[in-house]
């Protein structure tokens, strides 16, 4: 009815917020009376009832059955989360504690991510997710190039594991038939056997140098190789605190829980979901916002971990749709920042190691 922000009156927002938080807290439908008791508003239960009826019509609330209280709809949660974003972003971070815990787990990114996931799980009481990169296990065994037209060719890549993958490559300018042969030779010679983490700028420059006039083919080709490696590599998905799911009546239904567990285990689906983040920062998928259909009653919050601009892992949590978003957003963000700090610090250390050899006996 013609209101400034979000089309909802301030009072409606307050009521919505109260319903969401009460429901997150208790898990049960929220009645008008209990909202009055929370003393956030100074009006009677009847007024609240009227407002709630309107909020329901607007799609922010739902009613399990006629004589029950209201439950937030997906839209309701979404509104809540969106209006929350500024709030949590401004929270003073007590990273120190998290930082310390993670740091104590030392260098290995693997371990840090796994610990972070456990930490996220125990701090929020939902199930933690960690995706650890699994670099360097996949290498190319053979690369075949097939010309499509003068602007496109297909790359057929056979990995060390025997998997065959094809990628279509578009070139920035037309190429000669010879160029493909040349590229193929050079790729097979230089790239095969290298893991994703070994294909660095110097190597790419070397390739471009070797290709001379046809250097323009190198970049798109390498990109394709890189993509395939990352696809196959996939990374490894780990959960912690799966049992915490059982703390929520949402998962009391055996059928539902079973199919959720099954889906979580089948890493591919979740990996895909989490590997293509809409935003670079924290992502919140509520219910059917997630493409995975068994997660329609769940929510997932995750954040990619970056190192030198490249995503090297993901941490997050999975829980019921009525997740304590405030707490979760804050926690995941803090942990994410903490990890970034640590691996940035580590980077410097690693480089020193690479040059200077193996003397890290500093702590004796």
């Amino acid at each position: 009815m013609g209101n400034p922000t979000g089309g909802l009156s301030e009072r409606k927002k307050l009521i919505l917020k109260a319903v969401v938080e009460a429901h997150i807290e208790g898990g049960e439908p929220v009645g008008s009376k209990s909202i009055v008791q929370s003393n956030l508003l100074s009006c009677s239960s009847a007024t609240i009832r009227n407002e709630m009826a309107e909020l329901e019509q607007l799609g922010y609330l739902e009613q399990p059955h006629t004589s029950a209280g209201r439950v937030p709809s997906e839209l309701g949660y979404r509104f809540y989360v969106d209006s929350l974003v500024e709030q949590y972003a401004n929270t003073t971070r007590d990273i120190a504690r998290i930082n310390q815990l993670l740091r104590s787990k030392m260098s290995e990114l693997d371990q840090i991510l796994e610990t972070a996931s456990k930490l996220a799980s125990s701090l929020t009481n939902y199930t933690g997710i960690a995706i650890k990169p699994k670099i360097s296990s996949v290498t190319m065994a053979k690369i075949e190039l097939v010309s499509i037209d003068s602007f496109n060719f297909a790359m057929v890549m056979i990995t060390s594991g025997g998997t065959v993958k094809t990628k279509k490559v578009k070139t920035p300018m037309p190429y000669e038939a010879d160029a493909l042969t040349q590229l193929s030779e050079i790729l097979n010679l230089q790239i095969c056997g290298l893991g994703a983490d070994m294909i660095t700028l110097p190597i790419i420059m070397q390739l471009e140098n070797d290709m001379a006039d046809n250097a323009f083919l190198v970049n798109p080709a390498i990109k394709a190789v890189y993509e395939v490696m990352n696809e196959l590599d996939g990374g490894e998905l780990r959960y912690s605190g799966l049992n915490r799911l059982l703390d929520y009546p949402e998962y009391a239904d055996t059928q539902h829980l079973s199919s959720l567990l099954g889906t979580l285990e089948d890493q591919d689906e979740i990996l895909e979901l989490v590997s293509d983040p809409l935003r670079d920062d924290i992502n919140v998928l509520i219910g059917s916002e997630s493409p995975v259909k068994v997660m329609n009653n769940s929510a997932i919050v995750f954040k990619p971990i970056k190192k030198n601009g490249r995503t090297v892992g993901v941490i997050g949590v999975i829980g019921p749709r009525r997740m304590d978003y405030k707490k979760v957003l804050k926690t995941i963000d803090e942990i994410g920042v903490s990890i970034s700090d640590i691996i940035d610090g580590e980077r410097a250390l690693k480089q020193g190691e690479d040059n200077g050899g193996e003397d890290d006996g500093g702590n004796e």
Copy 2:
């Protein structure tokens, strides 16, 4: 009373077997009548009742409540499993199928074990376990030796990851102070940077040679190094088909399921359980036979996978105490044999590879 094998009359054995199998099948207490109907015995329900009462007194059966049928006790299952061993061992193995499936997953032991676990889970409909070795990730960065007395010294080992571990080492004969210094030097020079899989007999012999008169110190020291590496390495525990637990009413209790899931996730406890196999071959732990107390209502069947006499992995399944042991024992055994075949085949290949370099482009 006073019978040849196992102290049970043939008829009691038959009845016990019938009860166990009926209970495995249906999950519910088994009454005397249903046993008569199975036509395995030619006597009346009253006789069965009498026998069952005796079997209960002997501890092989239990009664949930007065007017219910009987359920096998732990001892009952144990008897059943033990008397089963010969049976399943003689089963003609249709390894071929399993073999093929596993082989199609190619070389990596990791993948084979993971696939095997999935296979075990889907064939038996229980939760599959796989322990993958995680060799070579841990190496020693620095080793310090501290003399305790002339028969004992402490080894302080700092790993590449920065973890510090101490082991007390007892020597077979007294040593001189110089010997420790010498040993320390040699260890730091020769062992540091090597993964567990790199410390082979030739290297140990080399060490002993270098130590000359004090060669007797090498063996216990290396053993300590090895132990620490394996501790830290740990191996990685993976489950597949966790959701299958939910197929069994035994895990309908949320509390119970939750604590089981929690325990399974805390890898250490299960790793310890499974890494110290009583028998080299298939192990069956029924209920409280397992030292892990939340598994008192569960059973675990597992088999170590050996390569050159060294355990390189474990596969198995976890399920309710009324597990279909016949099927599980057979399946796990078959899969185990199959994996052994494959990795023995792979060994030859690997060796060739190590010598000849990196040309595995055989599959083009």
